[in-house]
């Protein structure tokens, strides 16, 4: 009587959900020392999920009554999210053991957050967008407050929760207006209705703006960035690394899918919103970071500025721009994870330190770590031939190309270049501290092999991206093409 939906396109998500619940049971009923094992299995689970995503291929498949879509774009972004989550869990292992937060729930909650991100990337309906987003956010609120005995961590969790709830409210209000316009929540149908009406009515424009505002909260674009520095500072460091990497990729993927999909015919309307978000994020992120001395707060403002650059490509409103955004997010994620691996090595007498002045003279005591930090800082500043330069190159290329038609985009490009110059100041200040200042106190020897492996891996990617850019560029081009033709 009732036809079963096709489960195959959602196989990676089903596998991840089932194995996460199995892992939860294993953690609950296992003995006390299972936390480390759970973390290791979690990484393996993420790898298997990644293989399933790749195995599914890039053809477009819609299932669950049009709620869920799997295509080339989804496959690329999902692999990216899974890599980010797996690296974050690896980083979290040693830290959790040292800081007495070694409980099996941490990797389990991170897996649940990852599941939410995969659902977000595959959303093809306003409601499935929302439930995916909530699965992710709820798990993130909890891991932000994971060190419940530390006031700052609890504060971070609470702040994130309250502002996240507010942003969900904005998103839902926008979604209800869009539903009121079309009588449907499904992306394909909304796209058809908007394409059919000559000028989109005010109601649906307002709804779109509200939905974008709700999502801008999640990627901490100015003016919805207030929570970022406090949450980044308060949350445990590997959790901050996780926040800065995987959820950002997923939320950007969601914005791309929403704006290029159902609202693809409203480029005129949404490109103004993205223009403003991008400009404000780049400028504020760059200038506000100058005064920061805490490296986690510095990275918070850096991520705000980076989101501005990523949105730059979206503001172009072309397939080139979307490809630029995808390339940018790939490189951004790797650089961010690498930088946080460095921050996790900042330890004196067994205690974590977060002041950037403690990095002074690092080149003499820890030459390799100093080299790694320098690579990431130069790359974040966008200096060729490191990976960060190429990320910026492709978004700026797309903007300049699109500016031939919309001349106001030149303003955006000019501001982008100027703020990346300002941003270079604080990245290079860290390099100067490391190489030209006298050491105050040296860091402990790094004894954690997994962190060192992450550091070396991300460092090599950042350094030699210029030699092997083809896989990323082709993947991003295919992803963007899937979004525009599908």
């Amino acid at each position: 009587m009732v036809e079963l939906p096709a489960f195959l396109p959602a196989l990676p998500e089903l596998f991840l959900a089932v194995s996460t619940m199995a892992l939860l049971m294993f953690g609950v009923f296992g003995s006390d020392g299972t936390a480390r094992l759970v973390g290791q299995i979690a990484v393996v689970v993420l790898l298997c999920t990644g293989l399933l995503v790749i195995g599914h291929g890039t053809e477009r498949a819609v299932t669950f009554n049009g709620m869920f879509v799997m295509d080339g774009f989804g496959a690329y972004m999902k692999v990216l999210v899974l890599i980010g989550s797996a690296l974050s869990i690896i980083l979290a292992q040693g830290y959790a053991e040292r800081e007495h937060m070694n409980r099996f729930e941490l990797p389990v909650l991170m897996l649940f957050a990852t599941l939410g991100m995969l659902l977000m990337v595959s959303a093809n309906d306003l409601i499935s967008l929302y439930v995916g987003l909530e699965t992710q956010s709820l798990a993130l609120y909890v891991v932000a407050a994971f060190r419940r005995d530390h006031a700052k961590s609890s504060e971070a969790g609470l702040k994130y929760f309250v502002l996240g709830a507010l942003s969900s409210g904005l998103l839902l209000y926008g979604a209800s207006l869009i539903y009121g316009f079309g009588g449907t929540t499904q992306f394909d149908r909304i796209a058809g209705l908007i394409a059919a009406s000559p000028t989109p009515p005010v109601g649906v424009v307002v709804g779109m703006v509200f939905a974008v505002a709700g999502l801008a909260f999640k990627i901490s674009a100015v003016p919805f960035h207030m929570w970022t520095p406090d949450v980044y500072e308060g949350a445990p460091t590997p959790v901050t690394a996780f926040f800065a990497a995987a959820p950002k990729v997923a939320a950007v993927a969601l914005i791309l899918r929403l704006l290029d999909g159902p609202f693809g015919h409203m480029v005129e309307q949404w490109s103004q919103v993205i223009f403003a978000l991008s400009l404000a994020s780049m400028v504020l992120g760059s200038f506000a970071a100058i005064q920061q001395t805490n490296i986690k707060r510095l990275m918070a403002y850096s991520s705000i500025a980076n989101m501005g650059f990523a949105l730059l490509g979206l503001a172009a409103g072309t397939e080139q721009g979307t490809r630029g955004v995808v390339v940018y997010m790939t490189i951004y994620m790797v650089m961010t994870i690498g930088t946080f691996a460095v921050i996790l090595c900042m330890k004196q007498h067994g205690r974590m330190v977060e002041d950037i002045r403690q990095l002074a003279g690092l080149s003499r005591s820890h030459p390799l770590m100093a080299l790694g930090t320098a690579i990431f800082m130069f790359s974040l500043a966008g200096i060729p031939p490191l990976a960060g330069f190429f990320g910026k190159l492709y978004v700026f290329l797309a903007v300049i190309e699109a500016a031939a038609k919309h001349s106001e985009l030149y303003i955006l490009a000019v501001f982008g270049v100027l703020s990346s110059v300002v941003g270079a100041f604080y990245y290079l200040r860290v390099v100067k501290l490391i190489y030209f200042d006298d050491p105050i106190e040296t860091f402990d020897r790094q004894s954690d092999d997994s962190i060192a492996a992450v550091l070396v891996g991300t460092g090599l990617f950042t350094m030699f991206f210029f030699a092997f850019p083809v896989p990323v560029l082709n993947g991003a081009a295919a992803a963007a093409a899937a979004l525009f033709t599908g």
Partner: protein
């Protein structure tokens, strides 16, 4: 028709009165009791609309569970409501102003509302004809068939919320004596009872 309208107005007026009493009653326990009364009036309105399933759910879930939970919370947390209400007069102008702005925005948007041309033809969840299908069946088809994926994902969200609540609040406390039934059952007389010969005037 006349009877229906009379019933509607009776329920609506009672609902409004109950609602006002919820926020104006001095005793918080009375507030919760007024809230329960309000739920019953709303359930009556649902029945009038032909949504009998929602009416029953409202009574069972909200009156049976949620309101009782509220009662517990109100009784267990010693909140001074008089203190909480103190600022009302001071914040009334600004609150009223914001409310007025929001209402005017809503009116402006609704009055200029233009749904898409084909919107009604492709409603996501069209209302089925009431005479052919019962409320319960229609809702079941929507939730468990059409929106099956969302239903399952909502389950995941609730699971995450449960794990989160436990992670953030559960502490293993020292010095708590727990009943251990297997250990009690496995106790033998020889392990715990010893027969000693007590010398006269010696003590144990």
């Amino acid at each position: 028709m006349v009877i229906q309208s009379i019933v509607f107005y009776v329920f609506s007026c009672a609902l409004l009165i109950c609602g006002v009493m919820v926020i104006s009653a001095r005793n918080p326990v009375h507030s919760v009791l007024w809230l329960i009364a309000a739920f019953f009036q709303a359930a009556g309105l649902f029945v009038l609309m032909g949504a009998e399933f929602l009416a029953m759910i409202l009574v069972i879930v909200y009156v049976g569970a949620v309101a009782v939970l509220f009662l517990f919370v109100v009784m267990m947390l010693d909140i001074n409501f008089v203190e909480l209400r103190r600022g009302v007069v001071r914040y009334l102008p600004i609150g009223g102003l914001i409310g007025l702005v929001l209402v005017s925005e809503l009116v402006a948007m609704v009055s200029g509302w233009v749904p898409a041309a084909g919107a009604l033809a492709q409603l996501g969840a069209p209302v089925p004809p009431v005479d052919q299908i019962s409320n319960t069946r229609a809702l079941g088809q929507l939730i468990y068939t059409q929106y099956f994926y969302l239903f399952q994902t909502a389950g995941m969200i609730l699971l995450v919320a449960m794990i989160g609540a436990i992670v953030l609040t559960l502490r293993s406390r020292e010095g708590v004596r727990r009943q251990n039934v297997p250990a009690q059952l496995a106790r033998r007389r020889e392990d715990v009872v010893a027969v000693r010969k007590v010398p006269t005037r010696g003590g144990v």
